[in-house]
């Protein structure tokens, strides 16, 4: 209504001015008949008002549409009445919608192709890594150890790329099932054992076998790997332990990974979950991509887990992954029944 009034008031003003001018011309010419003039003015105003009301009724939908923000592209396909103006308006919108969709589709398919390419490429790169891995297996000298270290770095880098690109098609790529926290943590520790040893940092595992949570094993393993490699990287040379524990907090199950390393400066803490943010520590240490914690947060969001991070400079960092209620084990169920 307001938009309609705003749109039409110049017309109304001009019309009134015109009417007054008309009466003025007649009266200046000496013709003065108040009752007839009032009647004529009334008729003119009546038809003008009638025109505006009609106009409003037939175009109301369009005016309403124009005065509300668009929330989704699909709203552009709605129709707004039958008048020539409404139809033109609808057609214009539809045309716009089509053009946007076309471009969107083009970009989506480009993105998809790119993702497929990345994933295929990562898998292809695993062949040379396998060859190196096999060739090094029977070698025990320092040089081989050093090459092994580099191969590990390549593996970690590739893994990051693979998971980053998988995140794009997460909806088709996860399976929620009961996961044993202890076994995932053990797997993560085993995958990183060379990294632990090389940095002289040793994990302390305080995760009871009873903790089982609803999650996706593969994604969870990736999350733990990221947090663990951070913990080791920022502990090296300062502390020699990383504690991994699981416990209950209210309804939730918490998996906590605590290191006693250099910690994160307070001005950086807020931003550690942002992509490509490396902060002060990232500048001091090699191999910080700024993607690890961002990916952890993104994956957690999709799996409906929460992530918390506490840190104090010089004391260390604690990362917690919070899961909704624990999955009861068979023994629990039996105990409940009896």
């Amino acid at each position: 209504m307001r938009l309609f009034l705003k749109d039409q008031w110049p017309f109304a003003a001009f019309y009134l001015v015109q009417l007054v001018l008309l009466i003025l011309i007649f009266s200046l010419d000496g013709y003065w008949n108040p009752s007839l003039m009032t009647y004529a003015a009334f008729l003119a105003l009546f038809f003008a008002a009638g025109f505006l009301v009609m106009r409003y009724l037939t175009h109301r939908a369009v005016y309403q549409r124009l005065s509300q923000p668009i929330r989704s592209l699909e709203e552009l396909t709605q129709t707004h009445g039958n008048s020539a103006f409404s139809r033109a308006f609808d057609e214009y919108n539809l045309e716009q919608y089509r053009l946007y969709k076309e471009q969107l589709h083009a970009y989506e398919s480009k993105q998809r192709d790119h993702n497929i390419f990345i994933q295929q490429w990562v898998h292809q790169m695993k062949t040379p890594i396998s060859v190196l891995h096999l060739m090094l297996q029977d070698e025990d000298d320092d040089k081989a150890e050093s090459v092994r270290e580099e191969v590990d770095r390549l593996k970690r880098g590739l893994e990051m790329v693979l998971y980053q690109s998988r995140l794009e098609c997460f909806e088709q790529d996860f399976l929620i099932e009961p996961v044993s926290l202890r076994s995932v943590v053990q797997q993560a520790v085993a995958e990183n054992k060379r990294y632990f040893i090389r940095n002289k940092v040793y994990p302390q595992l305080q995760v009871d076998e009873k903790w089982r949570v609803e999650s996706d094993e593969k994604w969870l393993l990736f999350m733990i790997n990221q947090v663990l490699t951070n913990a080791v990287r920022y502990s090296a040379g300062k502390s020699n332990a990383v504690t991994i524990r699981a416990y209950e907090r209210g309804e939730k199950v918490v998996l906590e990974i605590q290191d006693y390393g250099i910690g994160i400066p307070p001005e950086d803490i807020r931003r550690v979950f942002q992509p490509y943010f490396t902060g002060e520590n990232g500048r001091k240490y090699a191999e910080s991509t700024g993607m690890g914690l961002y990916l952890v947060k993104e994956i957690a969001k999709r799996l409906a887990h929460e992530v918390e991070l506490d840190s104090a400079v010089g004391e260390g960092t604690t990362v917690r992954i919070l899961f909704s209620a624990a999955v009861p084990t068979l023994q629990d169920r039996k105990a409940d029944e009896s």
């Binding site: 898998h123 695993k126 096999l134 025990d140 060379r194």
Partner: protein
């Protein structure tokens, strides 16, 4: 002697696998032309097939289904794809197990042996035991036994792994990191635990009359010293 057919398009992986398997007494048949998988299979009649998923022309799943029409022999997939979906696909196409790249020799060997055992019974697996020998000192990795000069001593799994590393590397030094890595499987091992194991191994060597055979090299690691050779 069991025959193993390797269908893998990367020549180096193929060669490395072949060498390793032959070392453990398997006969290995390779596929060179990837449109002739079935005729090689029919000719060689392998006891087990190692199959890569990504192959030129047809993929591993296709060949797995083809082989299944003729034979029930165990088929192990080797693939770079580690997702559950891919593993399920492999099993649904008739495979018996799935190994992801990059893999360890130990894992491949263990899986091959367990599949052979399941398919043909114990007798079929070639009993070439992993042994290491240095100047008459012989270590049996499966029996966990150490022999020297008619004397025998039993070892724990970790002690055997430690000795294996030292003996294989003889006479060079093995770093502490490398030893930690060897010992560290499900249970992680820290430096103190390594010291304990080293002491135990020294004790066992002493039991069979080899005192001072494990030498500490400061700042580097440990070395096996075959001082008994000169006796």
């Amino acid at each position: 002697m069991s025959t193993i057919m390797i269908v893998e398009d990367d020549p180096k992986i193929k060669q490395l696998l072949q060498n390793q398997l032959e070392k453990y007494g398997f006969r290995v048949v390779n596929v060179e032309q990837f449109d002739r998988v079935m005729s090689v299979f029919a000719e060689a009649r392998p006891d087990l097939v190692l199959l890569d998923v990504n192959l030129p022309k047809y993929d591993g799943f296709y060949w797995c289904r083809q082989i299944r029409q003729h034979s029930n022999c165990p088929i192990l997939f080797i693939s770079a794809r580690e997702s559950k979906m891919d593993q399920v696909m492999a099993l649904e196409n008739g495979a018996d197990d799935y190994i992801t790249k990059p893999f360890d020799y130990d894992v491949v060997l263990a899986k091959i042996r367990s599949q052979l055992r399941r398919a043909y019974g114990l007798y079929a697996s070639p009993d070439v035991e992993r042994t290491v020998e240095v100047a008459g000192l012989k270590l049996f990795m499966e029996r966990l036994e150490l022999n020297w000069n008619e004397q025998r001593v039993e070892l724990s799994k970790k002690e055997a792994l430690l000795l294996e590393a030292l003996m294989k590397q003889h006479p060079r030094v093995v770093s502490r990191e490398r030893l930690l890595e060897k010992l560290w499987d499900e249970q992680f091992v820290d430096e103190n635990t390594l010291n304990v194991y080293i002491t135990r191994v020294r004790g066992k060597l002493k039991d069979i009359g080899l005192e001072g055979a494990v030498e500490t090299v400061r700042g580097a690691g440990y070395r096996l010293k075959a001082a008994w050779e000169e006796l």
